[in-house]
Point group: C2
Chain length 272, copies 2
């Protein structure tokens, strides 16, 4: 365990729902891909022992189907369907457990961090994020894995907090605990933001955003939290606070995720 | 969903590890007993719709064996065994999921509340308990189920927070959220605190505690969190704050737990 003597740098790593599940098939995890990612994460941490990662996994076909199946898109307040919260929580927790188990099996001291126990919402926006445990987990050498989750919303009863929303909301309070987020890595099915010809756009900023926006193609399958456009908008907000975002597909080339974690040159899109 | 117009009364219900698991056998849940308890909880809530319950389940043979198997009794700091945290978290979460699933299957809108995401420790004591989500869950009509869990400890790396410790730590912060704890019910394998002849002592207070202490028999199997004596000591602390504790075995007579939840007269020990 380390003492908090100075600011520590952390990397947020999002494992996209489209990559780790089959979005066209309900409740189906892609276990081989998950294991490949786990190995790269372990190897990056072995090569750079000072690397501190907070992982967030998307809900993929677990989250999206559960939300629709149990009719909680607009919350649980009006329809008095409180038990819908229970079912969605079960589904997204199950996928998170698969990710954490894979990491632990590969030797990473990964632990679940459950947003529904630490984050509250109000009218579809994150209202409070208690990061005490999250910060302490990182400081004692654990690798927390959070996930897109159903959380309580004081107006709607419930809301879906996407991994992107959670990452954005965590950055400031983590700073007060001595944890500085340098980079957010979105590891998904696309190799980066693609132009109309399918080539990776290497960099996005406020200057070229309106142009880039037009060329964004829709993501496959269900996505209740908005896909690539949502990611870019959240990333541009982060860029204003000097947090760099990287969009990659970590299994599209050998050790791509590992190299991205180690801040080596790779194919992908940087948002800054 | 309800508006917070006035103080709401809540009951904490602990489902003892000895009752819901086979403490002499690792990772073995007693599913029939769990289902019986779930039905009684559902029926009590149906009979009194204003009843608000926060459940906490003991770790039983999941928690106790995992802690010993992965050698985290004294924390993860000194032995650099951070991954032990991962394994214990997995074990206790698994038992909690069995409880929540049982409740949901019987129609209770139960959700997991994960202490490791909201509670931190320092040198074996609870340091902070962020109850925002817990309180909001109750207010939107959910029934949170927390559990004895491994949590981060800024000195030892990790510590085990027993359900008793968690309940005691939650009561004051919940009050600030408008939730007043009236009663704590310990639902375990014993019908109450027993005297030397095996009869239930109907009441324990500071006045007769030293006498009662001598007659307490040890609980069966492993118990890393201290058994009946620990329960009584925590309960006497609560009594100082006007919170009444009840020790019962809710499956020892028909509808005993249900009647206890409805504050009807039943066989058990009251600590006040």
């Amino acid at each position: 365990m380390e003492k908090l003597s100075s600011m520590k740098n952390i990397v947020f790593l999002k494992l996209g729902g489209s990559l780790i599940t089959d979005k066209s098939s309900a409740y189906t995890a892609k276990r081989e891909i998950i294991d490949q990612l786990s190995i790269q994460i372990r190897d990056a941490m072995a090569e750079n022992p000072s690397l501190r990662i907070i992982i967030g996994n998307g809900g993929g076909s677990y989250g999206h189907y559960a939300v629709i199946e149990h009719d909680v898109t607009d919350g649980i307040a009006l329809k008095k369907n409180a038990i819908g919260f229970s079912y969605v929580q079960k589904a997204v927790t199950e996928l998170n457990r698969i990710i954490v188990d894979s990491l632990v099996n590969k030797g990473v001291a990964a632990v679940s961090f459950h947003p529904s126990s630490a984050v509250t919402g109000n009218d579809g926006k994150i209202d409070s994020f208690c990061v005490d445990s999250l910060a302490e987990m990182v400081k004692v050498g654990l690798t927390p894995v959070m996930y897109g989750d159903i959380i309580v919303d004081s107006k709607r009863g419930s809301m879906i907090a996407s991994t992107e929303m959670l990452i954005t909301a965590a950055i400031e309070p983590l700073k007060r605990h001595g944890l500085q987020t340098n980079r957010v890595i979105h590891n998904g099915i696309v190799k980066g933001v693609l132009d109309k010809n399918g080539n990776v756009i290497s960099q996005v900023s406020h200057r070229n955003f309106s142009r880039v926006k037009k060329s964004i193609t829709k993501t496959e399958g269900y996505d209740v939290t908005g896909g690539m456009l949502h990611k870019l908008e959240e990333s541009l907000k982060l860029a204003e606070n000097k947090v760099q975002t990287l969009i990659i597909n970590g299994v599209s080339a050998r050790n791509l995720l590992k190299n991205a974690l180690l801040d080596k040159k790779i194919i992908g899109t940087v948002i800054r």
